[in-house]
């Protein structure tokens, strides 16, 4: 089999870049909507902030898994 193209070197960093796209969009939506919700209903600040941070943590975990996997499995 002839190779047409090959990627060598730190492929984990490329993986991290790909892994960060989705969570980046997600975190932007979460905080954007969260700030909008607080502006519309400031008295519900406590509940909104808690749910905002919860959603942020769930989205952010994906990017962090992308960051850590090259260190753990990459050789």
């Amino acid at each position: 089999m002839t190779l047409l193209a090959e990627v060598t070197g730190s492929i984990g960093s490329l993986g991290y870049g790909l892994a960060a796209i989705g969570p980046g969009i997600g975190i932007g939506i979460i905080f954007g909507q969260g700030v909008q919700a607080i502006a519309r209903q400031p008295e519900a600040y406590g509940v909104i902030r808690q749910n905002m941070l919860l959603g942020f943590a769930l989205a952010e975990a994906l990017a962090l898994i992308g960051f850590v996997v090259p260190f753990v499995f990459g050789k």
Binding site: L53, L54, L58, I65
Partner: protein, 275 residues
């Protein structure tokens, strides 16, 4: 190679002008040599910096709260004020918000988690400690396992074995045909993925933060040389390392909060079926 070896072998002796490549820190800065070992039966225990820092954190937390509440007064003063502030934050901010009135029973559980994780994270920026203990994967795994073996039996006890899995796998308000797809996904995401992400979230945050600070600190040292570009780069790297340290303070508290909040959310889901 352990962190001690990296420092001792002159890994930091590299400079821009001396022609050696940038010694980028990697996963090896999270490994430590044993300070001493002892054996119980056939098990050998290695006591490292991590073990010592964990023990100090436990002693500090127990010591502080025993001191704060040694003679509780109706009108709190001094340390008791701080202790009550911490208690109220967990009770009103996490337990009652996430679980409800029943949450008061779980305040000690959540309280211990929050303050232990916060202090273990905080070691990251304490001079001479300078390693977030939670960036060693075994430690968040142990914490997540404790939460896991709490909420799963609790859910089975409260909702019954069949009811627990039925409520988990068949959430109401979904078209019947969707359950073929939804039920296995819900089962896997709740039973397998949940404890994994719960521990990895904390581990990865502290790992990434520590690695970033280490990278910029090493870069600041590496770039110091007799050239304008090198000096400017060193100053910039050092400034970024300081700024990241400040950012880490925020992340440490946030991650301790999120870990505790998620534990509370899991317990709340176990206590009553989601509506």
């Amino acid at each position: 190679m352990s962190a001690d070896v990296v420092l001792a072998s002159g890994g930091l002796a590299c400079h821009l002008m001396s022609g050696c490549g940038f010694p980028a820190p990697g996963a090896e800065i999270f490994q430590f040599n044993a300070l001493f070992t002892f054996t119980i039966g056939s098990l050998t225990f290695n006591v490292t910096k991590i073990t010592v820092l964990t023990a100090i954190a436990v002693v500090l937390i127990c010591g502080f709260f025993l001191y704060a509440f040694r003679k509780p007064k109706l009108v709190p003063r001094g340390a008791q004020n701080v202790g009550e502030l911490g208690y109220l934050f967990i009770r009103d901010g996490i337990a009652r918000e996430a679980i409800g009135e029943e949450g008061d029973k779980f305040v000690p559980f959540l309280f211990a988690f929050f303050f232990l994780i916060w202090l273990l994270n905080f070691w990251s920026i304490v001079p001479f400690a300078q390693i977030p203990v939670t960036s060693i994967f075994a430690i968040p795994v142990a914490f997540a396992l404790i939460v896991y073996v709490t909420w799963v039996p609790l859910g089975i006890y409260k909702q019954g074995f069949g009811g627990f899995f039925k409520n988990m796998m068949f959430p109401p308000g979904v078209p019947k045909a969707m359950y073929i797809l939804l039920a296995p996904i819900e089962l896997i995401s709740n039973i397998l993925v949940r404890p994994f992400t719960h521990s990895v979230r904390l581990f990865a945050n502290m790992f990434a933060g520590h690695l970033l600070i280490a990278s910029f600190s090493v870069a600041a040292f590496y770039l110091i040389s007799a050239s304008v570009v090198g000096l400017l780069g060193a100053v910039a790297s050092f400034a970024v390392a300081v700024a990241l340290t400040g950012f880490e303070v925020l992340i440490q508290a946030l991650q301790a909060y999120i870990f505790t909040l998620l534990a509370a959310v899991y317990i709340s889901g176990a206590l009553s079926a989601e509506h």
